[in-house]
Symmetry: D2
Subunit: 363 residues, 4 copies
């Protein structure tokens, strides 16, 4: 995992700033012969796209992806297929309003990476956050769309399970429900609670945090590897690399600290196809290797840092200022993170599958 590259064999290198001409990624190591068109990718970008509800930013970006390399179609291939060479994807930034950035060009917005980029590089593209902008996650979602095609038989699904102090109870989880509301909320009764909370947050120019749950069904036993290549360690890095993520847990996660050994260790019975686990506190991973159960993770997202409320800060000259961020901003970035979390799960699993196949010769 290099600075802007994720993965070992299924490798994703992303590039682009919020207000540059375009952003994109290069996906290297994809197996050949997989059917892939722009529509396969676009559908997931639509899921991530802003402007879809009143609680996500109204910025209108078509986010139209172009495949620039790595696919080919002729009479003998089954439609357009991957060729095994790097797949270059590009999304042009068409909604770069020519606004005036002079106000924030020298200010450090609290909670943003303005100060740290400046401290590290001495120069930063302050327009819309530059490279630190969540625009970068569009490239992740695009790469994740390809990763899904490398994972036949695996289904990945995400949900928001907490917004602000309002958490969905585990026994209320209904995955089908996530498609019925703009919050990817798995509990219909929670939807009005969140609506009210978000309306209040928005009204006072504030923001709120969230927790996203994700699971992958159909992962066979054996993916992942000891010791630093653990499947859960890779997932932790993948999730924590998402903008605004502050925590990652696998299976029972932090709750496992309060469990007894009897509660925690998943018992097994003989199944038709390997062990039948009687619970899944492990989140589908033991010793860094998949068990064959669903791989489950949860990711905590901090509240959007861009808020209307004036906040104390300093500028590049070291002078004390107050910062109030106007403009189009989600009050809860966690909502739009769902397809990103799913995409990172897909990338990690695609990589794990190829690494497992390399060492063992099995899928």
């Amino acid at each position: 995992m290099s600075h802007n590259t994720f993965g070992h064999l299924f490798r994703v290198t992303t590039w682009g700033e919020s207000h540059g001409p375009a952003l994109g990624c290069v996906v290297d190591g994809c197996p050949p012969g997989i059917r892939l068109t722009e529509a396969d990718i676009q559908q997931w970008l639509e899921k991530r796209r802003p402007g879809q509800g009143k609680f996500v930013t109204q910025r209108q970006e078509p986010d139209a992806v172009r495949i620039l390399s790595g696919v080919f179609e002729d009479a003998r291939t089954d439609g357009q297929v991957t060729t095994g060479t790097p797949i270059s994807l590009m999304i042009e930034n068409v909604d770069q309003r020519s606004r005036d950035y002079s106000e924030i060009s020298t200010s450090f917005r609290p909670g943003h990476a303005d100060y740290t980029y400046f401290a590290k590089y001495g120069v930063r593209d302050y327009r819309g956050g530059g490279r630190q902008s969540a625009r970068e996650t569009a490239a992740r979602v695009a790469a994740g769309a390809i990763a899904r095609l490398v994972l036949p038989g695996v289904a990945i699904r995400g949900a928001v399970v907490q917004i602000g102090p309002h958490a969905v109870s585990p026994d209320r989880m209904d995955w089908d429900e996530t498609l019925n509301n703009p919050f990817w909320c798995p509990d219909a009764d929670m939807v009005p609670v969140w609506e009210e909370h978000l309306a209040a947050v928005r009204k006072r120019g504030s923001s709120t945090g969230a927790v996203v749950a994700v699971e992958a069904l159909g992962v066979p036993a054996g993916w992942g590897a000891p010791v630093y290549g653990k499947l859960d360690a890779e997932l932790a890095a993948a999730m924590m690399s998402i903008n605004a993520a502050k925590g990652v847990e696998i299976g029972a996660g932090f709750a496992s600290a309060a469990l007894s050994g009897e509660e925690n260790a998943d018992e097994m019975r003989a199944g038709n196809d390997g062990p039948q686990f009687l619970s899944n506190m492990a989140g589908g991973v033991l010793g860094g290797i998949s068990t064959g159960q669903p791989v489950t993770a949860r990711v905590a997202f901090k509240p959007t840092s861009s808020i209307l409320t004036p906040r104390k800060s300093i500028n590049e000259a070291g002078e004390e200022i107050e910062v109030s961020t106007k403009g189009r901003h989600d009050p809860c970035v966690g909502i739009r993170a769902v397809p990103v979390v799913e995409a990172m799960m897909a990338c990690v699993l695609a990589d794990a599958r190829l690494r497992h196949r390399a060492q063992t010769g099995r899928d």
Copy 2:
């Protein structure tokens, strides 16, 4: 990060099984000219060593480390110093009791990686858990001891902040107190509570989970990098790769989901030396780059999987069995994880420092 290698420039490759002749690591990329003797490493291994209290395993292992390469001393060097070539460390396994492993050789212990190793590799060294044993963490601690020497001015400290359901309140944190009890507990009043809890757990042949907190003081602003090389993403991978870890959070972590934007974004005032932050919800990292504040993380550990209570399981033949794990086992692996968590923090930071220096020419 490869299967058994951690880090990019400060690279640690570990090897060894619990009951093989030895275990160790190779540390590559260490800067030259750093004073290093076996005693510098041994002191940290002592901190990790079992047999130090009644609530950690009584297995007696001297864990004496040998430096096999990468250091040199002559008349012109200031004592024994690193040469810039790979440092090979070895710890012999002297306490390999010749016990009978036939009972567990074909059984899958619930919560352990017995089944997943078997599913992946088709063969496994079942003696003491083989490669999945926490014995491997001795190599991490040894590598971490070297990493600390690459971090002049940085102090790293860890503490257990929760055992079972008993969590230390944030306003009771007294780091000095961690040295006064066998639990690395930062709250003197909590010590008897944990003692009682652990005694009860041990009595009923069970085990319990824990949460470890760690922080690094003295990290300058600028370490880490976008996007997949984020300092917190590297930390997440490092921590989640530790045996029994199930969750990682940075700064406010999962609690940030319930915060408002005003509560979460750390305000800044002018300091003598860069910004003065008024809080540290960020845990010292913004946009994946250090802020100059303490870098703080918390890691959740599940209960020890080896328990006396009989548990349902299956064996390699797919037959249903009951497993009860006798022998020397910590009721709470999280306690002994403290020096390991510290070591991983050190390794991540040493790597981040070298990478930062590479790109920017500054330390």
Copy 3:
């Protein structure tokens, strides 16, 4: 070094096929604050560009590069500068003649990678060679242009020193002369010999090989590293990865096999600034680390595989055929390889500089 990525810290990932919509690269790890405009890159692409002489292909490609990310200009920066984030470069393929490829779509051209791509991937973009086309080297040259900016004080220059059987004598090397003829030939007297040879080769529909020499002046002592990170090992990989390269040598290279120890080991005398070497058989590298002398290498290129002469081959169906390649082709690919060889030298050195700085803190 991954499949389509070169370098460790100064990392270049290239993508694109000969007849796709575009090709390009992502340069990650570049230090911040370096002045960089498209013109800085374009000048080197012009040097590589075909259509510049009668002995290179007449295909007309403007090869106009666009910088899509990683640079920024505002009032406070000294012109447009790098920001430390990934630099994405794109060159559109504007000269994709809509010709008929059906003839070669199922044939394996001898000397080309048609068969091996098919054997590996089962599918291939046969238009103009697809990913195996030397078009990819435009991305290398673009990346190399950035690498040069990371190497202040280092001058890199290349020359063709052999075409077919006609080699330039070492005592006839005049680097200034390389700019006076279309062959980058360092010996004015050799120019008419090569002209005649190439005219004859072209007339009979054949092709010819070449040797390119390259040297880097101003590299300080200390770059590179043992054992597998040797500067010469990295150079060998870099050069051998260029299309049609079949051999690489450093310093005296293969000739050193016939030397005595006295002839080979470069003697040293005291200089004002480190040792003064009395010869440079080592090619500026000892033990994989630069000596402070010029770093010198030579690269052998095989003859262009696309020739008019009919050659025996087979097709995808396994049928025996004859292949004759019509169209625009250089009779000697080695000539156009000069700027590519220079670019790879630059990329290797930029990476070595950053790695050296990481480990030692010195440039």
Copy 4:
């Protein structure tokens, strides 16, 4: 490829100095279930071992290898087999004569890496060359022994084809002959010529260079990958990383510069099992991917730098001195390089096989 690590999936990390307590390597990524004992490795170390003839150094080193991890034997495994976890190998240095190194401790021996190590690191283990010593190649040979086991069906063989000015003619190559003489010479008539040459070289306290040829039979078509992962680029790096190597060529190599397109491009006819190539100028690699023909390479080695003849040099203080190297030294290091070249070929191919399997699912 990191400083002391070679390979991507079949990864070898070596460590150790010439006169430290031991040297060794960690082989990570090896497939599980492969039978492996110390004897499997020892046989190849014997081939490399010094003290086997009058033209190689008389230093007596048993070079006994120990396997410290990564293998397991029990009733259900077919003898001792690899487990998929890292294999740690160690060879103790038993022949560290307690000689006086004060003479060379501050001198830079011409042709050696004494000066460059000092320039880079500011400190160096000068005893026997420290890390730059060819002792390190014992670890390569040990790793190569394991790599061979990952390559069923592939046979690798090396030969010395030139010593000093005396080259074996290609039409005199008899691979069986290499086992009949101490030079791995494939031409019986050349043996007395080399004997005489080496005797003369030794008598005058000098040394001589050599060229080693290596080929791998049985490599299927499809291994390797574009663009920077080319099989020949990996081979070039592997070979150039060997001590004293100064040149690498694949197939026709530098000779291809003088060929015509007709001579160079290997023609194909229909075979029973893919194409039948009518020649092998390509050396079994086209576009970086194996063709199914033998993979052939040649490596040039410079003369031993340690010679009795006094040579001009300087010391650490910058004073001009004369250096004459006494002691046990091969007059021609190229001879002992044969098993090392074979080992590097094996490591590159094992890695290529696993990478190919990862991306395509085929072996």
